[in-house]
Subunit: 549 residues, 2 copies
């Protein structure tokens, strides 16, 4: 392909550079104003009650690309985790471009599009493993790697100005159990041929050593489950198909039949089977059949490893599950990590289970999980294979990306650059450099409405959570005189404070004759807040409305 002297190759992360989640990386090629773009991954970040109450998921603000929609050639998904594909059905209507993914990933994307009523509109193009595709100036090669889900891919993105290797999420697992091992030959060859930039997973850049293989967990789970007597429930990420298979094999080895419990568990097993995985997965009982088995003959494979309030395991622990109950002599194994921030809800679930007499075994005290992300020795191995001129840590918080950049420098990568969402990094020509800062930020799925983080709704509701709300309505006549008793609504405020607020406001109103209504409104607001602060030590959100009769 012909190049012009104004051509530039740029990376614009709109998500994931600063958080683990919400991955969204745009690569642009061409002269400014005429660039063609591809998007690698389009994921969500989950909301949290303490920081974004009432928000289920968040996704990147892609307004910069929305304005250039005609030049966005495709969304390419590296793998099927929610933080890589979970925003496609929300953001596709803005970009309206084809979506490329390998079979298992494509299957799951299609399921989401189906639910969103977009199945007929979106072209999801299936790329075979090791496949290649050309999108304008970009030639993309899918390189099989290993992670904690079937079909993870690194992307080798060839452009006239050099090759970028975008790792997606990965680890080096010599025995991933499901799917292919890391295509080390391809990675080595990329390095030998020369790579401009490695854009790489930072999740475990603070973790020494190696992540360890799924095969070691398989053995450990088999041993552990062999020692257990009563009912056994195992909870794991439903997308970790190798783990589900390990649990199923351990069950079979010890004479237990399995039941899948929870919607995601069934959906993921089905997607895996439909795309050729889990060929020798044992027959699965339904919950009612399983309930009829003796305790030592059953194993439940459940959703809910993060203590999610509506997941199967939480319902079981609450005694609210229709078909399953656990008690003394039974065991629950959490074959998963704790996603930071989920500690309290996970431990609350452990406590509920302990309260039922159930023994809880987890990665905190048993070897029942390995991470899907590269620890420092694996990162070092990747840098030895690829030997890039530029290291760009992504998929991490600042602390992970900084540690990753330090590691890359220590491995003699000539340039390691940490950037934030919205930073447009020119990778070529010349030294890597931030050349622009585009609009960026988060969009919240608040209920069923997409709301910009900048609108401040979450912040407003956190204020309500902190100190509650006072709403006062004053009724005025045509002359601006108070014509009725004020109406008070106080919510989330201790009872004794109510009287203090009422008294202070009523006193203020009594002094008001007529005239400046805006001043009255503001005075009442100030007086109400002040009275609350005096009585309580906190200032509620306070709103005053006027109505006229």
């Amino acid at each position: 392909m012909a190049t012009s002297r104004d051509d530039e190759l740029v990376l614009l992360p709109l998500g994931g550079a600063g958080e683990i989640g919400m991955n969204f990386n745009a690569y642009g090629f061409g002269p400014e104003g005429e660039r063609k773009w591809i998007v690698v991954d389009c994921g969500v970040l989950f909301g949290r009650e303490e920081t974004t109450p009432g928000v289920d998921v968040m996704m990147p603000d892609i307004s910069y690309l929305a304005e250039r929609r005609e030049d966005v050639l495709a969304i390419v998904a590296t793998h099927a985790h929610e933080d890589h594909i979970g925003a496609i059905h929300y953001l596709w209507p803005t970009l309206r471009c084809p979506v490329y993914a390998t079979p298992f990933t494509a299957k799951l994307i299609e399921g989401k599009l189906e639910e969103a009523g977009l199945r007929d509109k979106v072209r999801v193009k299936v790329v075979p493993l090791h496949g290649k595709l050309t999108l304008g100036p970009f030639e993309i090669e899918f390189v099989s790697i290993t992670h904690s889900i079937p079909e993870p891919n690194a992307l080798a993105i060839r452009t006239p100005l050099g090759v970028v290797v975008h790792t997606g999420d990965w680890k080096i697992d010599p025995e991933p159990l499901v799917g292919e091992a890391t295509d080390t030959n391809a990675l080595r060859k990329l390095g030998d041929d020369g790579v401009l930039a490695l854009v790489c997973d930072s999740t475990n850049a603070l973790v020494a050593g190696e992540s360890g293989s799924e095969s070691t967990v398989r053995k450990a789970l088999a041993d552990l489950i062999g020692t257990l007597k009563g009912r056994v429930a195992v909870t794991a990420f439903a997308s970790n198909i190798a783990r589900l298979d390990s649990v199923a094999k351990a069950a079979r080895a010890h004479g237990r039949q399995i039941a899948l419990v929870g919607r995601a568990m069934k959906r993921l097993v089905e997607a895996a089977r439909a795309t050729g995985y889990l060929a020798d997965f044992p027959a699965v009982l339904d919950e009612e059949e399983a309930a009829d088995l003796p305790p030592h003959r059953v194993l439940y494979l459940c959703t809910g490893s993060q203590g999610e309030s509506r997941a199967a395991l939480t319902r079981i622990a609450n005694g609210e599950h229709r078909n399953i109950s656990l008690g003394p002599g039974d065991t629950v194994i959490f074959s998963s990590r704790i996603i930071p921030g989920n500690e309290l809800q996970i431990f609350a679930l452990h406590n509920k289970l302990a309260g039922l007499g159930v023994e809880v075994l987890s990665a905190e005290d048993h070897f029942v999980h390995v991470s899907g992300h590269p620890a420092r020795d694996e990162l070092a191995q990747m840098y030895r294979w690829i030997r890039p001129k530029i290291a760009v840590p992504v998929h991490g918080e600042l602390r992970h990306m900084s540690a990753h950049a330090r590691l890359a420098r220590s491995l003699q990568v000539p340039q390691a650059v940490t950037i934030e969402n919205g930073h447009m990094l020119r990778l070529a020509p010349g030294k890597a450099q931030v050349i622009d800062e585009t609009p960026s930020g988060r969009v919240h799925l608040d209920g069923q409405v997409l709301v910009s983080e900048g609108a401040g709704l979450s912040r407003a509701r956190r204020s309500l959570a902190y100190a509650g709300m006072i709403a006062i309505t004053l009724v005025l006549d045509a002359k601006g005189r108070v014509a009725a008793d004020p109406a008070f609504v106080m919510e989330g405020i201790p009872e004794p404070v109510h009287a203090a607020v009422r008294d202070a406001v009523e006193l203020t109103i009594r002094k008001h004759k007529h005239g400046d209504e805006d001043a009255l409104k503001e005075t009442v607001r100030r007086v109400a807040r002040g009275a609350a602060e005096n009585a309580w030590g906190k200032k509620p959100v306070t709103r005053v409305e006027l109505v006229w009769v």
Copy 2:
């Protein structure tokens, strides 16, 4: 002392049996209705934005003892951590009994009483180390143990019906560095003489092995600090006086002078010195002096290891500290553990520091901390010393207490009992047994007001955080006809939802002629909520008020 055949020895935990924090254990002796009580520890639990927004601390509901205040002989504090003494100044006015503690603990209790304006009312009686005291039917011996603060004590509580050993918080640290080592002779002798019940710390009952000694951290910190070039800040729990001393010695060994940053840091060092500890602690610079030193000559010892928003380290990371700023080449060491639930705010602090170019070192990837609580091998050692008839795990969530009870049974303790707050456990005579369930629960310090958890304020504010609030005021005339436009206050609700709510309510009002006002109120409430749910997918807290003109 003479005993009657109706005498019973009971344990009534009102806090700590089900949570790590808010420790409050009452021991009662005598026939029902005539029992005398002592309270061991009286601590707080810290509030959390996601579960108890706007609540600083929580403490036990002690209404059961309040009704028997005349029979409460004393509060005895085992050591000075907030979860053991932090509620004394809130609950003393209810109990009005003397408080007993060893010198360092007494010093800190007095400081709190001073701030609460109770210094003159409360008798804090200083008990020497290894001291004994008699309180009605209880003879109490203080047994020196080790923990992560000076002067931790186990209590041997002798009664006519047997001896209870109440461990408080402990570990087995052969070199605690500050204060005495574990009085193993006394513990052994107690075991040899015969112990009825061991009431014991469960915090680390899920952790294998041993906690490790402060002395190993001292060496590691000295080595680590020796490798650092720029400014160094270390954050640790201010009450871990041995740790502060280790940091100070490491600083001195590497030519750095120290400054104490944060109010708690200064307060704790002062209390330690006033009670004879830290005799060779180096001279401390004030922040201004420290700012004039070259970076490699200074070490800041800071509060804020949990990412507390108002603590020194957070202010430094925000660039809001008057005298201290950190940047590239500087290092912050978190010589502390992450208290579960604090992950996100601690990592947010790490990220801010990483954003300044500061390197962050923490217990996640460096050996800079040991726990103050007994891991399983230490628990086993304690059971070998004490050999109780009854094990009562306390100071833990259910998951810890259950694991602790299983461990005790595996060590052939004849009876291990897990109880909840409010369960009155008869320890003697006869088999240990829950004989009563008293009122229990939590009291929230909400602003400056104490509010029962049962009042539901936190829950109400969480609802506001989830879906915001609608307050509607309707103005009616004497005939019950709507006499003005309704007033709407909507807070925390997306803008497009507002119009939907207004339209639906106005339509409803237009249809209303006169008459049943309660029905109108309820209809408007239902219509507003329904409209919000339709437009948004969430149902705000909705309140409707009527006023009459």
